[in-house]
């Protein structure tokens, strides 16, 4: 398991992105999966910055693990309890004028990931996002 801890800020995204891409390459994860990993990383980091820490200082840890054809990203933070999976899904059928601006990030994450799990462990939020890494999924 590899991990990287950085300040929970948007400008940490580049470093997290390089870390995840390097780890995925080392673990010989199919390259089609990498854009999905990048997307999930961005969505969960922005979610953490804006919703969990709400602009306050804090740190975020990203862990990567590969086992038995599954690649998992785990996000750990010390913000207030916050389960992003409990956010109500956006109403995708509404016309442009009524569409809300928020809620799309988690919707995308749920669609990209093969398995998602949130738990609160003492003072930490732990969100694990796993991908089937044996073959590319949902290719169109």
């Amino acid at each position: 398991m590899q991990s990287l801890r950085l300040p929970a800020r948007l400008d940490s995204l580049e470093q997290f992105r390089a870390f995840v891409a390097d780890t995925a390459k080392r673990e010989q994860i199919p390259s089609e999966l990498v854009p999905k990993l990048e997307l999930v990383l961005e969505e969960l980091l922005t979610n953490l910055v804006f919703h969990a820490y709400k602009g306050n200082d804090g740190s975020a840890e990203v862990q990567c693990s590969a086992e038995g054809g599954t690649f998992c990203l785990r996000f750990v933070d010390e913000g207030p309890p916050f389960d992003p999976l409990k956010r109500p899904p956006p109403d995708l059928s509404k016309p442009l004028e009524e569409r809300q601006i928020g809620g799309l990030g988690i919707h995308l994450v749920k669609n990209m990931a093969d398995r998602l799990e949130y738990r609160r462990d003492r003072d930490r939020n732990i969100l694990t996002v796993c991908f089937d890494a044996k073959e590319a999924k949902r290719e169109t």
Partner: protein, 111 residues
């Protein structure tokens, strides 16, 4: 992310190449809002060179469209493909916007 402006008839064409992520989306949004303020309310977003789009990018597109519409304009999406197209589909954006395969097709949707 690279942004290039051009025109087809009365419509402004904004080509965005590369990535629209959290950082790029604010630049992209400000760029298009400025066009709308100048009176270019019908904008063709040429996404044929777009490699990556996150929810921040979707939010920017939605914000731009919500500004263009009351001003009598509209946003047309052109050339979207691959992973970015998938993001549009998953979010229901593909049915919310006029979608063109090529700039020629997009030009035909202006009026």
């Amino acid at each position: 992310m690279r942004i290039e402006d051009s025109k087809i008839g009365q419509a402004a064409v904004v080509q965005v190449a590369g990535r629209i992520d959290a950082a790029g989306s604010t630049v992209f949004e400000a760029h298009c809002k400025k066009l709308i303020d100048k009176g270019d309310t019908t904008i063709i977003l040429d996404f044929s060179e777009l490699e990556y789009l996150s929810s921040a990018g979707l939010r920017a597109v939605l914000t731009i469209a919500k500004k263009a519409k009351p001003a009598g304009g509209k946003i047309i999406i052109s050339g979207l493909a691959g992973g970015a197209k998938e993001i549009f589909d998953i979010s229901g954006f593909s049915s919310m916007f006029p979608m063109a395969n090529t700039l020629e097709d997009a030009a035909g949707m202006v009026l």
